[in-house]
């Protein structure tokens, strides 16, 4: 048989494996160091106060929530590029339904969650039953959502009652509710992935879908479920942003580039695009890193457009940091 396994004469330690474990932490430390340096160098040490540090994570709640959902999808070797437009749609839908009326808060939330669930199910079905490439499936869905959205709104729509704005603005002192929510969501996601059969199935399907199927795991429901989770998270992120902006804007998802950013953050956290490896804590480290970078731009008072240019470069650089070690030919 083919001598395909080449075993090193000097048995090399599996250094590649350890790298992915520690790289996010390493990057986090570096990012924080740069942040501290820039804060001090520009004579603005107030950015190093605990309040401001907590605010760093606070600025990335939407990204964090979205990225947690994206983690599930990437773990099964799929991907979701419709999250940005779904966030916009959710924000607009929530604002329009609430329309300043606190009694409509619950219906709005339910409607938005339902929207997320439907989008997730459709994405999942198109990918599993129609066997469409996840990229195309979710890009197509993004287009459909965008079309539906711009058919109805072109500007700020609806308004969010003060009671719901609590989600974004309320808190215990300097610790926002939204931050607590993010932490709770993180812990819940971690628990599901680590301890439940569903979480174990996610890793199995992502690691080797064929082996998983032969072993009796129902791969299609698992993939569909991860897409539902991802879309629900995006919907919740939309709710948060509506609360924050006090209204719904149809460009909010695209502006924040939540699709590419959530993917980048997951990859920086050590979860591989090929699936089967990675986890939630890495993603959160990735979110922190991006937050720090964003904050660095703020402190250094970088122009908004220049920030966008830098953002694209940084995202690619961050992914390259992990990918460059690969020996395989990439397309």
């Amino acid at each position: 048989m083919t001598d395909a396994t080449m075993q090193p004469v000097a048995r090399r330690r599996k250094s590649g494996f350890r790298f992915e474990r520690w790289a996010p932490a390493l990057l986090l430390v570096i990012a924080f160091a740069i942040y501290a340096i820039v804060a001090l160098a520009t004579g603005q040490p107030q950015f190093l106060t605990p309040d401001n540090l907590i605010a760093i994570l606070g600025r990335s709640i939407a990204l964090g929530i979205t990225a947690i959902g994206q983690t599930f999808v990437i773990l099964v070797a799929s991907i979701d590029l419709s999250v940005a437009n779904l966030i916009s749609a959710a924000a607009v839908l929530a604002s329009v339904i609430m329309n300043g009326n606190p009694a409509m808060i619950l219906p709005a939330i339910l409607a938005v969650l339902a929207l997320g669930a439907v989008v997730g199910v459709v994405n999942g079905l198109v990918i599993t039953k129609l066997e469409v490439n996840p990229l195309i499936a979710t890009l197509g869905m993004a287009l459909v959502i965008q079309g539906c959205l711009s058919a109805f709104v072109t500007n700020f729509a609806g308004s969010v009652p003060a009671e719901f704005q609590v989600f974004a603005y309320g808190g215990f002192g300097s610790i926002q509710f939204s931050l607590i929510f993010l932490v709770a969501l993180t812990v819940a996601a971690w628990f599901v992935l680590r301890f439940t059969k569903f979480g174990s199935d996610i890793y199995s399907v992502g690691g080797n879908a064929d082996a998983a199927r032969l072993a009796g795991i129902k791969t299609h429901p698992v993939v569909i479920a991860t897409h539902v989770i991802c879309s629900l998270c995006a919907a919740i992120a939309g709710l948060y942003l509506a609360s924050r902006l006090r209204s719904g804007a149809p460009w909010i998802g695209r502006d924040g580039v939540y699709d590419l950013q959530s993917i980048a953050v997951v990859v920086i956290g050590g979860t591989v695009l090929a699936g089967g490896r990675g986890g939630i804590w890495g993603t959160i480290a990735g979110v922190l890193i991006f937050s720090l970078i964003d904050s660095i731009f703020n402190i250094a008072q970088v122009d908004a457009f220049a920030k966008q240019v830098m953002r694209g470069i940084i995202i690619v650089a961050a992914v390259a940091f992990y990918a460059v070690r690969s020996k395989r030919i990439v397309a």
């Binding site: 129609l130 469409v132 459909v144 058919a151 122009d303 694209g312 690619v316 397309a331």
Partner: protein, 328 residues
């Protein structure tokens, strides 16, 4: 596993020449348009249609190279935007500068293509992420350059390419410059893909990059060139679009997906190995025909997006289904 049995079934497969379904679909759609609006048969009608389709057709033809090589180029839309905005900023209403501005933009296209290719080949970043990142960067660059509000308009010497029609031409009466460019470039790209070694190499690296590498194909060089073809096509499409679309910060937005849709409609296989330039051009015309029909039916732009999303998914789903039926 006898050889005799295999060659018998091989002989059977040679029977039918396969015609790409996209041409049939295009024909049907064109007939539908004519039924809706007979004046489409006049040069005014169909030449304008071709003129409006030209940018997407050229873009699609260029995108096929990257798709067949196994990747995606999502930065082309942003490159179109940057071309239009950059040109308007540089030209500053000075028509004499047209030629060197266009040359500069083409140079920019080459540069962007090279960078995309280098990132994918040597930094091993998947083209999805690399070109999405490039898209963000290019959009940001366009915003930076124009300060968020692009000023000026493009002089007629620049808009010549997209807008000008040759009048009083025998038979066709009016021939838009854009159509001439489409024919010339379309043929050039067809020849590049289907008649040169480069085209075969592109197919090879998309089909089986490892086998190509072991057979001596310069995989990196070929892939980088494929990205360059895609980017240069985008610049040319941008020049043509600048002719009739006006200057704004989202002039190119959405074109990357339209190009992919067109290529897939033409039978290009995602993740590489199969694709055709003429079929992609037909795919672009098909898309444009669908949009035209939607216009005639009075449906607004947002519906276009929805329809396009559905077409994209349907085209790929259909391709997967056909592949399963005929065996991999």
């Amino acid at each position: 596993m006898s050889e005799a049995a295999l060659s018998r079934s091989e002989k059977k497969k040679r029977r039918l020449p396969q015609i790409n379904p996209v041409y049939i679909v295009l024909a049907v759609l064109l007939i539908a348009i004519v039924i809706q609006n007979v004046s489409f048969l006049e040069p005014q009608g169909y030449m304008n249609f071709l003129k409006r389709s030209a940018p997407l057709a050229i873009l699609a033809a260029g995108s096929v190279f990257v798709i067949v090589a196994g990747g995606f180029d999502l930065s082309v839309g942003a490159l179109i935007t940057l071309t239009v905005i950059g040109s308007s900023m540089l030209l500053n209403n000075n028509p004499d500068a047209t030629w060197w501005v266009i040359l500069l933009m083409l140079g920019l296209g080459v540069l962007v293509g090279c960078i995309n290719g280098l990132i994918v080949c040597y930094l091993r970043v998947p083209s999805l992420i690399a070109t999405l990142g490039m898209m963000i960067t290019l959009n940001g660059a366009a915003l930076m350059w124009s300060g968020g509000s692009p000023r000026g308009y493009l002089p007629d010497s620049f808009r010549f390419f997209g807008r000008f029609n040759f009048q009083d031409v025998p038979i066709f009466q009016l021939v838009p410059v854009a159509v001439i460019i489409l024919i010339v470039l379309g043929f050039a790209l067809y020849w590049l893909m289907h008649r040169t070694n480069f085209g075969r190499m592109v197919h090879a690296i998309g089909d089986n990059p490892r086998a190509a590498q072991l057979a001596g194909v310069p995989v990196e060089r070929v892939r980088i060139l494929a990205f360059v073809v895609s980017s240069v096509s985008a610049v040319i499409a941008g020049v043509m679009l600048g002719g009739f679309a006006g200057v704004s910060t989202d002039v190119g937005s959405g074109y990357e997906l339209q190009a992919i849709t067109a290529a897939v409609l033409g039978g290009a296989q995602l993740l590489g190995g199969r694709g055709s330039v003429p079929a992609a051009i037909a795919g672009a015309l098909t898309l444009q025909a669908i949009f035209t029909l939607l216009n005639f039916l009075g449906l607004p732009k947002p519906v276009r997006d929805v329809v396009q999303g559905v077409i994209l998914i349907a085209a790929v789903a259909l391709a997967m289904y056909r592949r399963k039926k005929t065996g991999r």
